[in-house]
Symmetry: C2
Subunit: 402 residues, 2 copies
């Protein structure tokens, strides 16, 4: 019974982090800055009820929606991706180059199926999204970190590491990055696309936050600069529609999409049709622009509350990022505080009861890197709760410095 494949062992560390992450999200007494969820007030419950009532009829599309669908996904939703999500961002795509997937993360799984043999190198940002690293580890990839600064992944270090490691793939979250909230500059986006083409390396651009921007100006995705098909754009509906629906998409060239269809077919045949059609209708009925506006307003307010509170309540010497969008800010604490230990106390101490994600798990290099860092998500709490939670957390941190 213990004869598991090796990959179950290589993924164990990340799997345990993810399990811990999910369990903290489920305690209703805790103010959680842990998960990566949007404000529940932004979930379009009423609109989905209305849409389902209309489409789910015997004389409507009911039978079609409950029957087997195409591996590529519902055409309606692929057209929404092309016309409503990619075209306004400067990307011209054909609906047949869009694959609908079961949540954004499935892109990482399918891309690994296409490309990764055990031991292959994937270059990742330092720090990077731990859930994607869980997937890469399941495929026994070796994740090598590339340094970051306020403009995102360093293209100098990236180039050096492409030459040194001959990676199969570069994994980059260019906009309001998870976990740091940083955004890759336009110049670097262009350079990364060029490096992919020049060195024949796949650039996996994971861009789920790009559509929720609260300040600053939109930047073209890396994919917009790709002239050879080496960049694959992955995105999710979790931040702009609903995470529980598990909808995402991949945009890639003909050859890669054709292989992805095979991998998707052998993973779960196709993505559930009802959420696909509801989501497509949501856009086709013109509900998205207003929804998007309110989504950005609500999250801008939460971001501002969190940034102001950190500046007010966290001790001197604290460093934090200022995210122009997305859900996260990244905090570096002074005084050698270990955030993994802090988390145990902050969630269990009845006077605090605040959750966040400790920084260490986001660094693939290990060696205690990021042990004084934390990822704080402002998506799931109201501005008032954010202020209360950050004040409590700040006081706990202060108490450690005395």
């Amino acid at each position: 019974m213990s004869n598991y494949a090796k990959r179950m062992k290589t993924m164990e560390k990340q799997a345990n982090i993810i399990k811990g992450l999910f369990s903290a999200m489920n305690d209703p007494d805790v103010i959680s800055f842990g998960g990566g969820a949007i404000a529940k007030e932004c979930l379009p419950v009423d609109k989905i009820r209305e849409i389902t009532k209309d489409i789910m009829r015997v004389d409507g599309r009911g039978y079609e929606i409950l029957s087997y669908g195409s591996v590529l996904g519902a055409k309606d939703l692929r057209e929404v991706v092309v016309n409503d999500l990619l075209a306004p961002k400067g990307v011209k795509a054909n609906p047949d180059n869009i694959l609908i997937i079961t949540g954004g993360l499935e892109a990482m799984n399918l891309m690994c199926q296409l490309y990764i043999e055990p031991g292959d190198v994937i270059l990742v940002e330092s720090p990077t999204f731990v859930h994607s690293v869980e997937t890469f580890s399941m495929f026994e990839a070796e994740c090598i970190p590339v340094t970051m600064d306020d403009e995102g992944m360093s293209t100098e270090d990236l180039k050096a590491k492409i030459i040194k490691y001959s990676p199969k793939m570069v994994y980059v979250i260019p906009t309001f990055q998870n976990p740091t909230g940083r955004t890759l500059s336009l110049d670097r986006r262009k350079k990364i696309a060029e490096l992919g083409s020049k060195y024949d390396v796949i650039i996996l651009e994971d861009d789920p936050y790009r559509d929720i921007r609260y300040s600053g100006e939109d930047l073209l995705p890396i994919k917009a600069f790709d002239k050879t098909g080496h960049t694959v754009l992955a995105n999710s509906f979790s931040k702009i529609f609903s995470p529980g629906s598990r909808l995402g998409y991949v945009y890639a060239n003909d050859e890669i999409i054709s292989k992805m269809i095979d991998a998707k077919s052998a993973t779960n045949s196709h993505t559930s049709l009802l959420p696909q059609i509801i989501c497509a209708e949501f856009f086709k009925r013109g509900y998205y622009p207003e929804h998007h506006k309110s989504l950005c307003e609500i999250h801008r307010e939460r971001r501002d509350a969190m940034i102001e509170s950190i500046d007010k309540y966290f001790p001197e010497g604290t460093k934090r990022t200022f995210p122009d969008g997305g859900l996260f800010t990244w905090v570096e604490l002074p005084g050698g505080i270990n955030t993994s230990e802090l988390l145990i106390e902050s969630t269990s101490n009845p006077d605090v009861k605040v959750a966040f994600v400790a920084g260490e798990g986001f660094f693939t290099e290990g060696n205690g890197k990021g042990s004084n860092c934390m990822r704080l998500s402002f998506g799931a709490s109201t501005p008032d709760k954010i202020r209360i939670g950050i004040e409590k957390l700040g006081k706990l941190i202060e108490s450690k410095l005395v």
Copy 2:
């Protein structure tokens, strides 16, 4: 750009069969005995509309359904599996040992993640379900066929091949098997569970058709005879609820479920929640018994129409199975007719326009085995269409024998 992982090559043959299968299903002018879909008249369109209207409210479960859920799946649906689907079949399970998956096929993918290294042997029935073989091939497993007769997989041959090949897994579809419609006898079910325990081999029991039986008596699943946890039961809601919803489940012991949670988390986080909750409500509101009755009546009629028509219109020397349930009958033609060639003609000839699945693709052994066989599905066509289609097909076959 051509630097794909080896698995993309090993799965190519099956991937092409699957692609062909799906494309034939989409031609509206063709009477299709090809796909494995149930009658569209059985899809609970109205009930789903009613349920969604009730649950998708801001003051109801709307927010919960659109938010991130647990990797294991919605508790409501796991309880339905335990109480409404497993208990009546003699299997006592704990809801925490049920993992909800994105369609039945995902079980094969996750089980391969847990167990299969390139080159590992999976023993399969001869013939077996080509879509599962696609998944096994993506994991670079070597599929070794085990002989079958009218009682299903031969346990003598199975035992001999377990000893010879030391497989990681035995893949078996015990009830109304795909593609043959045959059912594994009770005695053999018991023996297969025992062989798994004795030789430390995982028995992957894929049982999506078991709940749609039209004649004969229910048999306990292999899992009911498993004393050591070596048997893993996979099932689907595609035949009893709706294929487009992509819902299935796995029942396994604590250790295996815990590993499957990791693999599922790294595949797509969790299964879409809306279909899960709708499906659970469908059972909880008591709609299933009547739905199930009508499902069986409609398909019994279709099976009978197909069997009678084959006996009437197919040439002498034709062999066919009599399925007590499920969706398929398996036909062996006389006179050396090649069904792959026949299929091209039967779908393109304007006087015929009938689709089926050629037998060869279901045999992992290759060498032209099954080239005179076909899988005929009676799920998606009315009895009248079945009679017309089988008559046309029978005439075409007759014309080849002259």
